[in-house]
């Protein structure tokens, strides 16, 4: 179906179910319970899950297939955001032209940066991309302030032209991004007993874009082009001596993944119409690499999982503070309670990076294939156990 093999189609269904039912899946705890702080089903965070999912899926087309580790991918995210905000300022608050321009402009940047960086491979390629990204960050942060808004970032204003829309709403406010009149921030709350589930239009818009991007990624993975990209990773020497020019292949992969990043940037600006230079900093690029490795390099669903995992940690773990810990350990005698809080304190709140770092180390050492490999091992283990009980049953049967 959809020109996919059965297993790919099932994978597509799984991702569709995960994204479309996310408001339920991410809100497992009743709103008033103590565990409610682990709920992640609010629009802002859910949007971030899918947007970074798109970013990681695109990054994986480059890193997962060709093995070229770009350390400057956040630059394309930033370029996409700026392009989208400029469309909101000049054209209208409709998100479609904004996203189209984000993808086009970041694709153009990727073409130039890729053309130069791909003259080298391995660590030199990574350093070149990092250098470009940092240069672009510096440009956005100070040199190009008229275009990028510099330190404060690029924001909408009441006197923006918006030639196909209105500069201001009748109430004198800045209009909000919308899709042909449907506002991105529009939400609908579903109250079921103690639970409240929020359905946000912006989230579902992003989710559909993620599904389309994921579908495209599957098609690329399974195409002759995808096969060539995997061949680049495996053995460039053999490719050259098989009459294949590796350069255009790697450049095409670089541009495609840059466009994915631009798409993510455009969506980010569509959800919250401002763009700042910090989005392009090297730490942001590093985060994309972490997401992909954590989820599983070269697997289809891995990057999506990795993106969700890191964004969940960033937003949920960082919210836990000492008071919450004291509540948790209240059942312990005072001295031990304080001791436990003292031990756990560095790993929560602002220390969530420490937890993430430890988890990342564990994954890289014990599960080099990322979360996907973990899932596969778990599935294999269950299968083995299932077979064992079956054989033990069949052994018993003759005795009866």
């Amino acid at each position: 179906m959809l020109k996919l093999t059965k297993s790919d189609f099932n994978l597509m269904l799984l991702v569709a179910a995960l994204t479309l039912l996310a408001p339920f899946i991410l809100n497992p705890f009743p709103t008033d319970s103590a565990m409610a702080q682990f709920n992640a089903g609010y629009p802002d965070l859910m949007q971030r899950f899918v947007i970074f999912g798109i970013l990681a899926v695109g990054f994986n087309i480059l890193f997962g297939l060709t093995g070229y580790l770009s350390f400057g991918h956040a630059a394309f995210l930033g370029v996409g955001s700026y392009a989208a905000v400029w469309m909101f300022k000049l054209l209208s608050m409709n998100v479609l032209p904004a996203i189209v321009l984000s993808v086009a402009i970041s694709g153009l940047f990727a073409l130039v940066i890729g053309y130069i960086s791909l003259r080298r491979s391995g660590i030199y390629f990574s350093i070149l991309t990092l250098a470009f990204a940092q240069m672009m960050f510096a440009l956005a942060y100070s040199v190009l302030t008229p275009i990028t808004g510099g330190e404060t970032g690029l924001q909408l204003a009441l006197d923006d032209p918006r030639i196909f829309g209105a500069s201001q709403t009748p109430g004198g406010n800045i209009p909000v991004p919308s899709l042909f009149g449907l506002e991105m921030r529009e939400s609908f709350d579903l109250v079921l007993g103690a639970w409240v589930f929020t359905f946000n239009f912006g989230y579902y818009f992003c989710a559909l874009v993620l599904l389309a991007s994921f579908y495209l990624a599957i098609r690329i993975f399974r195409s002759p082009f995808g096969l060539m990209l995997r061949a680049v990773k495996s053995n460039q020497q053999r490719m050259n001596y098989t009459g294949l020019n590796t350069r255009p292949y790697t450049l095409a992969a670089f541009v495609i993944s840059g466009m994915y990043a631009g798409l993510a940037g455009g969506l980010m600006a569509s959800m919250d119409p401002l763009a700042g230079a910090e989005r392009m900093q090297w730490t942001a690029s590093g985060e994309i690499v972490l997401m992909t490795i954590l989820g599983g390099v070269g697997t289809l669903i891995g990057p999506v999982l990795g993106a969700g995992f890191i964004k969940y940690f960033e937003n949920i773990f960082s919210k836990i503070n000492d008071n919450v810990l004291h509540e948790w350990f209240a059942f312990l005698p005072d001295g031990i309670e304080n001791f436990m809080v003292f031990i756990i304190h560095p790993f929560i709140g602002k220390g969530w990076h420490l937890t993430l770092g430890l988890l990342f180390m564990l994954v890289v050492i014990y599960l080099p294939g990322g979360l996907v490999e973990g899932g596969q091992k778990l599935a294999a283990w269950f299968q083995k156990r299932g077979q064992k009980t079956e054989t033990s049953k069949s052994k018993i049967e003759p005795a009866e």
Binding site: F225, A231, R238, M239, G243, N245, A252
Partner: protein
């Protein structure tokens, strides 16, 4: 005129003269062996033929066209395929995928952006790849990871990949180096079969005299970067110059 004409080729690496005034002509549909002691310049010569090195002087013509200054992939597209000393295959891919890649390269050229077609539904490519695997007696291994195979099987796959491109000239760089005796004999049989059944020219660089004398119908002996003799195998065996080059003057 041979299919490959090497004229006055010299190659220096700094002060070292690796090749000096090499002249070589390889006739169409022959099996031409290039032998010589270590350091004779065999591999340098081969690298000059496939575009990995550019000679300082001289010319290399393949079928009337110069190969000098062209990238390896362009030379391959002209009809020269190369088998490496250690098999160069796509270790991370399956055997079938390995075979699909040269078939795609033959059909689509050096670059083709068909990102939306499903690879497994390209019927012509699949048929050709499967057919080639059967010819190489590897059909049962099609879903195996190429890196997990034995040295002999890797070599067989590599040769199969080269043949699927229907090259006019197949260059082999010590194809049996580091192989067990049985694998060596299998490789000899395979190459014999190839040269008999296909209209293909084979040039082979080899150390193992058993391999050379079982395959070649023309032999060039290279010593110290220059061709010593070129002759038929029978005459090479007894040639005192060749013995001298291999064993030293006192022999």
């Amino acid at each position: 005129m041979g299919i490959l004409e090497v004229k006055n080729v010299s190659k220096r690496f700094g002060g070292l003269k690796a090749l000096s005034d090499v002249n070589l002509s390889i006739k169409e549909n022959s099996v031409h062996a290039i032998i010589g002691p270590n350091g004779a310049g065999k591999s340098t010569l081969l690298n000059c033929l496939v575009g990995k090195l550019i000679p300082n002087t001289g010319s290399v013509m393949f079928d009337g066209q110069s190969v000098l200054g062209r990238a390896p992939y362009e030379i391959n597209q002209m009809g020269i395929s190369r088998v490496f000393q250690t098999p160069e295959i796509f270790g991370d891919l399956t055997v079938l995928e390995n075979m699909m890649i040269p078939c795609l390269a033959k059909r689509d050229g050096a670059f083709e952006l068909n990102a939306l077609a499903a690879a497994l539904t390209q019927r012509d490519i699949m048929e050709k790849a499967e057919h080639m695997l059967e010819e190489m007696n590897m059909a049962d291994k099609r879903h195996m990871h190429a890196a997990a195979m034995s040295r002999g099987d890797k070599r067989r796959l590599e040769i199969g990949m080269c043949l699927s491109q229907e090259p006019r000239l197949l260059l082999l760089d010590e194809p049996t180096a580091g192989m067990a005796r049985a694998d060596t004999n299998n490789t000899i049989d395979l190459l014999k079969q190839i040269s008999e059944q296909r209209s293909i020219t084979i040039a082979i660089i080899e150390h193992d005299m058993h391999v050379v004398f079982s395959l070649a119908n023309r032999i060039t002996v290279l010593a110290q970067g220059t061709p010593l003799v070129e002759d038929d195998p029978e005459n090479i065996r007894g040639n005192p110059k060749v013995r001298e080059a291999y064993l030293g003057e006192t022999a």
